[in-house]
Amino acid sequence: MGIACSDKTLFMDINKKSRRQLRLQSWAFLILFLAVMGLLATISVLYHAEFDWTATGRHTLSEASIKVLERMPEPLLITSYQSGGDTSPERLRVKDLIKRYQKHKANIELKFVDPITNPDIVRELGIRMNGEMIANYTNRSEHITSFAAKARTPSS
């Protein structure tokens, strides 16, 4: 668009008025163009496909884990006792891990509680380390202490 226009304008004499028009046109183009790129970026975030290229399929759940998830129709609540802000790297890592499970079971809810600012809850539930998780399914609950061990199980 820009190139075709400018080639045509080479033949007209450039005075003050046409220059103002050209400037206006180029600003309009810039804004529209950036808006389109922003829109593309938004779409690419909303609809995306992910491929795990590792040889062991480390970032994909194993068949066995998926089968277990399928046998759990009720909602599952996972509370992570991980300190840090909502966007701290530690919490993002937890979110990332749980997202892998959420892909196969939509009704998994993840909640964060900061163990440093809530010492009463920590004592009551017997939480021993930062980053511990408690999974609640129907009326049962289980402590997940070793984050690394849980992270590894999918691939084995």
């Binding site: 820009g2 995306h48 992910e50 491929f51």
Partner: protein, 253 residues
């Protein structure tokens, strides 16, 4: 026609001592880092991995860090390669000559960009021989390796697009280099805002803009369409902006 310009640009790069010394220095530093990482792996990690039966290997401990260091070194080096691409033409007053040639602005800019990109890809392939040399001693995770390679190439392509744009803005190569470096560093550290308290929306935007976020998944062996498209969007945006910039010059003279 685009490829004529690209080939000429590539030839000019290799005629100057700059390109050769850049390849030499980058290769030297990266091979040292590779050596250190490999030694570290053999001395400590290997035994521990065996003990805990972890599904990780030499590719995770040696090859992935190599590409991470390479991306940081290239952030410093790419501005030096791209700085004179267009600003030199402006300084030598040969830009007017180029304008009067029967070429569209798109052909000129994209051609020059492809020339620089070819050089950077050659450099990437040269240091990628180091991980491949591990094949003499054992096996590597080829899926992860190709994911790293794809990430590295997309990243230098984005670096180069930003560099070419900065070079189209000014007649001084040094100014082009330092401003390219500034933009690259800014895009790199954007996601550090994540550690400070703030709303999640702002964080998500900043972390989307940050190159580090998008490179990170490649380094774990995950190829996500969002990340690939991010780099494509950056490249297209800066290409179009440089074309517009030169187009404006052609008119207002």
């Amino acid at each position: 026609m685009i490829f004529h310009i690209a080939a000429r640009e590539l030839r000019t790069l290799f005629l100057s001592p700059l390109a050769w010394s850049v390849i030499g220095v980058v290769q030297f530093i990266l091979s040292l880092l590779f050596l250190f990482a490999l030694q570290d792996f053999l001395m400590t990690h290997q035994a521990r991995l065996h003990m805990y039966a972890m599904p990780l290997g030499v590719t995770d401990f040696v090859v992935a860090p190599l590409y991470s260091s390479a991306s940081i070194i290239l952030m410093l080096v790419v501005p030096l390669i791209t700085m004179r691409v267009i600003s030199d033409e402006r300084r030598n007053r040969s830009l007017t000559l180029l304008f009067s040639a029967p070429l569209s602005m798109t052909e000129i800019v994209v051609g020059k960009y492809l020339g620089v990109l070819a050089f950077l890809i050659i450099m990437t392939l040269i240091y990628s021989l180091m991980p491949l040399s591990l094949l003499f001693a054992g096996s590597i995770d080829f899926g992860l390796f190709f994911s790293l390679l794809l990430g590295a190439i997309l990243m230098v392509a984005a670096f180069a697009a930003i560099g070419v744009f900065m070079s189209s803005l000014t007649a001084q190569p040094t100014i082009a280099a330092i401003s390219t470096f500034g933009v690259l560093l800014l895009l790199w550290i954007f996601n550090m805002a994540g550690n400070s308290p703030g709303s999640e929306g702002v964080f998500n935007l900043l972390s989307y803009l940050s190159m580090l976020t998008h490179y990170e998944s490649f380094s774990r062996g995950i190829v996500n369409s969002t990340d690939v498209l991010y780099f494509v969007i950056v490249i297209v945006t800066f290409m179009v902006l440089s074309i517009r910039r030169l187009d404006g010059d052609r008119l207002q003279r």
